[in-house]
Subunit: 246 residues, 2 copies
């Protein structure tokens, strides 16, 4: 099992840094509890199915048939949906290791639009391929259930944030959550570069750009963070977490 995961994670340092890939969704999909040698050979086949998209590019759009599910190797993807008159809500910023497209498995139609915030590399599992794979590797279905169930919990948390938290609490939650996600992927939890604009942060948190700016400025005045445009340093994670009301 150790040997297997090595085979999967160490692909080539050029297009897959170890940190991203060790935690990448496809590797998590690829290292289920009871995987066998035969499984691992199959999964190598999947892992080869790569896709690169550039900053600003669409991965898929609302209403089109779901062609594949994805796992992000590196980069950032935002997913969003909109009201009839065009107000849109970002439902997630997805980073290395996150799966994409699972929400649309039940009807095979994309319910969100997915766009790259920076150059992004993905593992791609075509839908018809997935059908075969899950038959050959039962544990893959277990993994799908796990990932979907986590996604439901994430969205429940987002609903709490959008329904009940103040602007200040939203921003604090956002920063703490992002920091924790980076930490889990092996990046710094104290200092990081945002790949999204103030506008996009607002569109995710249910507030406007200006409120994001003002609140970040206040956090800086209060010594909670250092705010240099896209570069954020967390100075007082404890107080920030307390503000977040998680």
């Amino acid at each position: 099992m150790n040997a297997q995961s090595k085979k999967l994670t160490v692909v080539s340092d050029v297009d897959c840094n170890a940190v991203a890939c060790r935690n990448c969704g496809i590797c998590r999909l690829g290292a289920p509890l009871d995987s066998t040698e035969a499984d691992s050979r199959l999964l190598e086949r999947i892992a080869k199915n790569r896709r690169q998209i550039k900053r600003g590019d669409l991965l898929y759009r609302i209403g089109e048939p779901l062609k594949a599910i994805y796992a992000i190797r590196y980069g950032t993807i935002k997913t969003y949906l909109s009201t009839a008159d065009g107000r849109s809500q970002i439902t997630g910023f997805h980073i290395a290791g996150d799966p994409l497209g699972l929400a649309d498995l039940h009807d095979g139609v994309c319910s969100t639009e997915a766009r790259a915030l920076e150059n992004t590399s993905l593992c791609e599992i075509p839908i018809d391929h997935l059908q075969l794979l899950t038959e050959e590797i039962p544990s893959l279905r277990v993994q799908l259930t796990q990932l979907l169930s986590q996604e439901v919990q994430r969205l429940q948390g987002l609903s709490l944030l959008l329904g009940k938290k103040t602007a200040e609490e939203r921003l604090a939650t956002f920063l703490i959550t992002l920091s924790q996600r980076f930490a889990r992927r092996g990046y710094s939890s104290r200092e990081f570069n945002l790949s999204m604009s103030r506008n996009e942060i607002g569109t995710y948190l249910g507030i406007v750009e200006e409120t994001v700016c003002r609140t970040l400025a206040r956090f800086q005045d209060d010594g909670l963070i250092e705010n240099q445009r896209r570069l954020i340093s967390i100075l007082d994670a404890d107080r920030l977490a307390q503000l977040a009301q998680v």
Copy 2:
């Protein structure tokens, strides 16, 4: 397959009306695409596992181990979670046919609290039971994936509502969605009794009780609905749907 589903749906008219059960989650779980005779016998065993809870009772609470997953036969359950200081957000009103507990499969810990809004009957599948069942009936896992994926989509829609819609649009969306859900279950889509209070509607829609009242009153003045406390009649579904901005 027809004979099978008959066996499952027609239990006894006393504790299972046909409408609710034909569409109930356990029956959907119980009538997967490729079910065999053997499967159906197994599923009969599950379907017998019933549970009744009374209005106001807790089904499970946050943090406790997930003992089972459920499907509602009749009644209504609300699920909710809260901020550290006790503001709570209802994440769903679940009616006949809806599954419960799926969101917590990945770590086996309840992430929401579930409480009955009226006397409610559930099918219960204990977690350890589920393990065995999914091994014997592979299509059950497919069903779990489908149901989870639908739940993710539902919560994405809720996020859009909470993040971007006005109070008026929220109420309109709520009424239209509820009406459609009732219709799909075979109840009237034009007139129905709410099982939740104004306060609970607000706690779900991210607004306060008073705003719910005022907005419903306005809808009545505008001839969109008739509003007799818990009894709601939809008078102009089209205009309401337009207001909803779905």
